[in-house]
Amino acid sequence: MNVSVRKVIMAAVAIDGKKVSGVPVFSAQNEEEQANIATILSRVLEAVVHDMGNGVYIVVRH
């Protein structure tokens, strides 16, 4: 039987790591690096990147 996770925050990517807790956090130096990390994570995890509006990207498996 295949088990898959859905509607789960797989990771967060932030410049200011203090804004996130409870999920794996990837720190970035600047916005470009943040977007790159988020893109790689979304490809690897087959997930979607959402902008929290406070400088944090979350990667969510839908």
Binding site: N2, A35, A38, T39, S42, R43, E46, V49, H50, D51
Partner: protein, 296 residues
Amino acid sequence: MSNVFWGIATGITVGTLARYLMMRRDVRQYPSYPHAVVNHLSLGFLAATLGAVAIPALAAEEYTAVTFLALAATQFREVRSMERQMLVALEASKLVPRGKDFIEGIARTFEARNYLVLFIAMLTSGITFWLGFLPGIIAGITAVAVVRKLIGGKVIMDIAKVRAGEFRFEEYNLFVEDIHIMNVGLERTRKIYEERAKAVVLEPFNDNGREILANVGQRQAIAHDAASLLGIYRDVDTAEFTPLLRRNKDTGRIGMIILPLEPDIECLLQAVQHVPVLESAIAKPLASRAGRCAAD
């Protein structure tokens, strides 16, 4: 040759032919593959045989033959379950899945069509048995024509106006007109949307249409059909390009965003217009007094 022979023979022939005619749909419809056609034609032949022998058997006072019909019911349920299992198993390999409602609808259709074949075969064999070959064939062909007309069902253009829409981003939020679709986090993804995406708006004609389009399974079926007809700009690792249909909670209008490989909006509209209305999505609030009263 006796009436019994001709009754059974014409029943089986017309019934099997009816099954074949009911399968002939366009390419997005399942089945369109040779092996699936052979499977269902064989099952249709069995259904036609069971139907065709029923009347001659009853006429010969072989009343136990009626139990064959119970056997048929069990067999047809098996067909439904077989189709469901197969389509669910294939679901994981689709870039845009059909969804459970669509699969259930297809499985139910397969079961129901076998019953129709049984009734057509029974009618044809009965009339041939009593009235002769020619009336039997005429009755069979008429029944096939009537059934083919009745099984057509409704499509989206019968319940809603389908038109091209405008989409825009407000910061990272994607909207189709006034309908929020999703939060698109990355600038590079938003750029691809701006280059390639197409938006469609579905405006239900009345409250019945509104409730049909509120069904999530129906919306998934629209996304699946549109993506399979026009191609989809996505792969397994680009989940952000999944076509989405979201609802305006006030009006029940639906906004759809899709990144088709073929960017022709007219073809996209046509694809959406011809998506079948799923049986499981059909709702008729206007058939009730409360529904009519609320619609004022």
